[in-house]
Symmetry: C2
Subunit: 316 residues, 2 copies
Amino acid sequence: MSDSAGDLGEFGLISAMRAVLPAAPLAQVGPGDDAAVLTTPDGRVVTTVDVLVEGRHFRRDWSSAHDVGRRAAAASLADVVAMGARPTALLIGLGVPADLESSWARELAEGLAEEAGLVGAGVIGGDVVRSDTIIVSVTAFGDLEGRSPVLRSGARAGDVLAVAGRLGWAAAGLAVLSRGFRAPRVLVNAHRVPEPPYAAGPAAADAGATAMLDVSDGLVADAGHIAQASGVEIIIDPNCLVVADPIRDAAAAYNADPLVWLLAGGDDHALLATFPKGATLPAEFTVIGSVRAAKTPGVLVGDAPYAERGGWDHFR
Amino acid sequence: MSDSAGDLGEFGLISAMRAVLPAAPLAQVGPGDDAAVLTTPDGRVVTTVDVLVEGRHFRRDWSSAHDVGRRAAAASLADVVAMGARPTALLIGLGVPADLESSWARELAEGLAEEAGLVGAGVIGGDVVRSDTIIVSVTAFGDLEGRSPVLRSGARAGDVLAVAGRLGWAAAGLAVLSRGFRAPRVLVNAHRVPEPPYAAGPAAADAGATAMLDVSDGLVADAGHIAQASGVEIIIDPNCLVVADPIRDAAAAYNADPLVWLLAGGDDHALLATFPKGATLPAEFTVIGSVRAAKTPGVLVGDAPYAERGGWDHFR
């Protein structure tokens, strides 16, 4: 049995985690000083923070520490690539109970390291404190490499709407877990560890994307964020949404509508973007709709507003 | 009576906080998109994260939301100036219970805004989630303006040791509160809101500081961090430590040794630095000791190791 976090102490815990975390290639000063120093070749830095709380964003009986680490890193890294930037580094804020096995923290670090490694990013520092429930705060950094950041506000009438990555998989996986099952694994794993299409973010920027975000609240809700910020109406064509076999099968088994997972489920961290009509889309993107002028910004699915609760509010 | 965080919802809460948070002059993209874009004139960015947890770092019956905001910002901003950088921006991760009055979150934001305003920094984004206890994660950013970062590892034999800012005030204030009192206010307030000597950080770098950190674990413990990183012995001269009247009075009233607060108390966020002998120190700094070669790095107070538990480990 491994030591507890309390046995190891703050500095022991940091040392155990640091041993498995990769250095950031752009770090001039890494972990261990008052602050890190990160080189910013572009002259700007893209940065974002996401906080995951045990019991709200993950459960220890549903996800391993490694899964939580990957998911925490993915949530922030997806935000960086959704601006059209290449991720470079992470800062980790961690709160853990004193009686937590220290191996949990080490495996969390291994998960963070694995996900960061997918994009060549490293960890440049962090803070470890005691907390009754586990909290993981991940600040991510990215470099725009000369690109203009792709905002939510740039969609224009006439643009096409396209998505890269999965829709509905994490929501279907959560539905499976919530019913007490552990299979199909492919869905459960999608809830545990999202697979954001990291390379598609900078590629979309290079291809002229006019607006982009990562789908974390749900397709309709996040399309709504683009619609509001851009002052346009977005029409999602449900015929363009492909329901994968595992999702169709799970929906049939639970007598559920699979489209609800695709339209309202978050946490897959797909990238949703708009492109000028006629633009050559990066290979990862599939057209799923269009953008038109509107007096009242909003989202239609087919020819009607979407009736299901679309979007994720942590307090509702 | 104000609405609860749950009544307002995630987006309402963010909107209420954003209304009082100052924009960062260097922000190209501020709050409201997937990530922020911060201009980095130096070509590098200094960054650090600190996490504050209710019940561990603050109590709602001892500190107002405004106090907590100021303190959370100060903890991270002090780390930035301790590198010799000028603070530019903050990212805020916030976890709050659904039944928390929304006014608490707004007042927290006002405290964050006030402290950031002291150094001309703004808020470039954040994340708000639900959590059973309040957690505040502050990522701070700074610009080195061409300076070399001042690390913990640069102290050399022959250097002088100097401090800017207060020592022992926050610890004395915590002792007062722990005994159930609310006065003397000057000490209680020092616990609630530290006063880091922000300008002294870049000034120390300009004056040739060889090593620097902010005193958050305690003078002896943090001097030990410099000693370890630099491979030197640091001698603190207790005769150079001035015990202010309120601290002397409180210590007398509690039959305590005021030097313990000065030597082992953290959370004032003073700046501790080493300078080459003969350097002209910035006005904020007072010499309190010296640096010499040592086979075994460590800290002496006068001519002996310090016997009190020096340093703050969140798990002990």
